[in-house]
Amino acid sequence: MKPRFNDVATVRSGLKKVNYLADDGIAGVVFLADRLGKPVLIEGPAGTGKTQLAKSVAELTGARLIRLQCYEGLDESKALYEWNYKKQLLRIQADKNSDSWSEVHDDIFSSEFLLARPLLEAITSEEPVVLLIDEVDRVELETEALLLEILSEYQVSIPELGTITAKQIPLVFLTSNNTRELSEALKRRCLYLHVDYPDLEREKEIVLNKVPDISENLADQIARIVRSIRQLDLKKAPSVSETLDWARTLMLLGIETIDAQEAKETLHILLKYQTDIAKAAKELSVTK
């Protein structure tokens, strides 16, 4: 199969074109995922652009994005496939008299009566696909096993039909908020990418990129204040999306340079816990 990207630099510049600012680590892993044909497991704090990465890669490669949102209680029939049993019943009733039993039997377990769920859909698709398995840490440990076959072999085994192998190797991204330890088996099959809060330069660039008409000076100040706040010992550090919300708010308020007072008054956009806000407000106004 033809690789999608030539080298790491292409990935990076390509992602930039679709408005996703990747650092070396992110671009490198995406490149590697394509070359080795392996899924990528993305971990990191909430709001650092894990899901967005999959979306951006889909946009970049012009592939269709198929998304499987995980939740507790997700099972085979919602993730992989399900037999369309109403249709099967109809089929049986439609020509009760004509067909012989064996014909009907073979017929109702054909692909016509199969409802493809996201995972099956991703590997049977003719056109290129990016598969996003979102928040994989929410499913139970046992359900994880459902994913293993598709992640390592890109195939799905259906007892009545046999094994369906992928027509093309999709790029697979799994995201996790790390609420529980994923199984060794799953981790082993994936490339691992930890997406952390961006550093000062990158955050500033993201703000400049995503907030129209913002001045360089303000973006710089925002990035620096956010960095200082992240260094505090908080319940929930501000995420990138919260930084962007804050930047937009400041733009709407028509603020050009932030002073301590304005920062304090708009902190609730950045931080979501009262104790955190109090702490940050205290820290920011401390002289020295």
Binding site: G28, R188, V286
Partner: protein
């Protein structure tokens, strides 16, 4: 050296450091190396990281080992011969001399050797001020060469050289000097907010410079001793394996950082376990109600799931010097998952005992509560040396009646009683009333019951004494507790 040999040494070292690298991951890394050239060091590092390290807590360890094994690759990382400044350096210096207008022939030939420490210091300050990365790197190299006094073959650890280098650079005062200089250079007065931001900026630059120095020292040591020997001296335990009783300040910090994700995971796991408990008996009413939507056929049987009561917890912790860190971590741990218990009460003692539950109630910030425990709790009775016997006696007198059959009592400490009376009857009485009594000891098992440790005497009355030296053991214990 061929890449393959280097790689196998590297992976062996990762395993030695405690990272679980499986065979398939090893093969993946080899595949990855094929498509990413070793010359692109950053991409190479991330490629190896993505295939070999599947837990973010292990990244630091990986990074150190990577540096040791691959720090001699790539031309820009070559070490300059002593006394022979490389071209890059000369260029830098010429630039500086031009800027300063005071380059009295130092730029050519003499190199850094003719600069006084004060001049180096001034240059460093300028580099930090402007955030000039290349200059900082060059200065780090130079100051190691000048100040560290490294001798080939000398069996001294990297920290010694680091200390020697940094002592000469006077980085402690650098921050203040930078702030002063910054204040002078700006036209109007800085607001407190701006000043604070500047300070954070400078701090991060100084930190960056320190790291440059550190890695330069490492690079030289590797050149001197070889990667394998060097990796061994640098080997550090993973955060969850750091011992509470012997953690350095840095390790304490990383322990603290590792604690919260761990508790969150544990809480999620416990909540899940509670919900997906054993199957209960059929809930007849519920089943009938649900059967209505199937035309009266009980197609969806409902069960009465048992809801196990959450245990009540009493933590009694020794917070005298040697085991204070352990007590602190255990309290933090317990309070971070307190919604897994119906009630948590905590007591701390040295030779007197005091209840500290209120500190945790009054604030959401566990760190602050712990601070107040350390400063405000009234735990000294006579001389501030551990006296388990007296503390237990007072506990029994004041709070003994609050223990009931739902209570689980946790005793934390090394049971080093300074040869006071043991009063182990208290533990026996507690055990009679409480559901469970456990003792957690932060000392290695081999030290128990040696010297003034009488953990055996107390332990005989409890449901179990557990060795709890690191976060991993603590987590394991708490998981089984609820």
């Amino acid at each position: 050296m061929p890449v393959l040999d280097l790689m196998s040494g590297f992976i062996a070292e990762l395993r030695n450091a405690g990272l679980p690298v499986s065979l398939t991951e090893n093969l993946d890394a080899m595949e990855a190396v094929k498509v990413i050239p070793i010359e692109d060091r950053d991409a190479f590092k991330y490629a190896l990281g993505a295939t070999l390290v599947k837990n973010n807590a292990h990244w630091r360890v990986f990074e150190t080992i990577f540096e040791v094994y691959f720090s001699l690759r790539g031309p820009e990382y070559a070490i300059t011969q002593d006394g022979q400044p490389d071209d890059f350096w000369r260029e830098m210096q010429e630039q500086i001399d031009q800027v300063n207008g005071q380059g009295e022939g130092k730029g050519s030939g003499g190199g850094m050797d003719s600069l006084t420490p004060e001049e180096i210091n001034a240059m460093l300050m300028r580099a930090l001020m402007s955030g000039d990365q290349a200059m900082m790197r060059a200065l780090a190299k130079q100051s190691v060469q000048r100040f560290a006094g490294m001798e080939p073959g000398r069996p001294v650890g990297g920290t010694y050289y680091l200390y020697r280098t940094l002592r000469n650079l006077d980085l402690e005062n650098m921050l203040q000097k930078l702030m002063d200089a910054n204040r002078e250079s700006s036209q109007q007065d800085l607001t407190s907010l701006e000043e604070r931001l500047e300070k954070d900026e400078f701090e991060s630059r100084i930190e960056q410079f320190k790291q440059e120095v550190e890695s330069e020292i490492r690079r030289r040591l590797v050149a001197d001793r070889g990667a394998e020997a060097m990796a061994k001296t640098l080997r550090k335990p993973l955060p969850e394996d750091v011992e509470f009783m012997h953690a350095s300040r840095d390790e304490m910090q990383s322990l603290k950082k590792a604690l919260y994700p761990l508790t969150r995971k544990l809480a999620a796991r416990l909540a899940r376990k509670r919900r997906h408990g054993r199957k209960g008996p059929l809930d007849f009413r519920n089943t009938v109600r649900h059967s209505l939507s199937y035309g009266g056929v009980p197609a969806d049987p409902k069960f009465r799931y048992p809801r196990p009561a959450k245990p009540e917890l009493m933590v009694i912790a020794d917070i005298s010097g040697s085991v204070a860190a352990f007590a602190r971590f255990t309290l933090m741990f317990v309070y971070a998952i307190q919604n897994q218990f119906s009630k948590v009460r905590s007591f701390v003692f040295i030779d007197g005992i005091d209840e500290v539950t209120k500190y945790f109630k009054s604030t959401e910030d566990i760190g602050e509560a712990i601070n107040r425990v350390n400063t405000e709790a009234d735990v000294v009775w006579v001389d501030g040396h551990s006296d388990y016997g007296h503390a237990f006696e007072v506990f029994w007198e004041r709070y003994g009646k609050d223990i009931n059959s739902k209570t689980t009592v946790l005793l934390l400490g090394d049971a080093r009683n300074n040869y006071h009376a043991a009063q182990s009857w208290v533990v026996k009485e507690i055990a009679k009333r409480a559901r469970h009594v456990y003792w957690l000891n932060p000392e290695p098992k081999s030290y128990w019951n040696t010297g003034d440790s009488i953990v055996g005497e107390y332990g005989a009355h409890t449901d179990g004494v557990f060795e709890c030296r690191n976060l991993r053991q603590l987590e394991g214990f708490v998981e089984n507790l609820t």
